[in-house]
Symmetry: C2
Subunit: 66 residues, 2 copies
């Protein structure tokens, strides 16, 4: 497991938070996910590679800073 | 059936649109719903009373102008 922090643009509401959370949990059901929408922050504790997590977020339609 | 137009605040994304649409369709599966999110407009063609439609939208957490 490693702690990863992403800056994610476009999460405008609680539905967006849940969409991002569900996408990450689908990738890794053991992942711990914390989202601070006001700060555009998504913190993930997971064994998955960072790029896989970023791709899962992007597939939901949100922008992930490089 | 009657055409009803609501001004709805707080629909920030596509998930919100779908939440409003689903709430109205749950109230009346025959309803026709058109949402213009940029204009905060929800147009509904339904046999349900206007107050029931407004209540369904409010229950999703959105503000409906009086």
């Amino acid at each position: 497991m490693s702690q990863q922090t992403f800056t994610v643009q476009g999460m405008t509401c609680g539905h967006c938070e849940r969409a991002v959370q569900t996408a990450i949990k689908t990738l890794d059901p053991q992942a711990e996910v914390r989202i601070d929408r006001a700060q555009n922050l998504v913190e993930v504790n997971t064994a998955q590679p960072r790029e896989a997590v970023a791709a899962a977020i992007r597939e939901e339609g949100y922008q992930v800073a490089a």
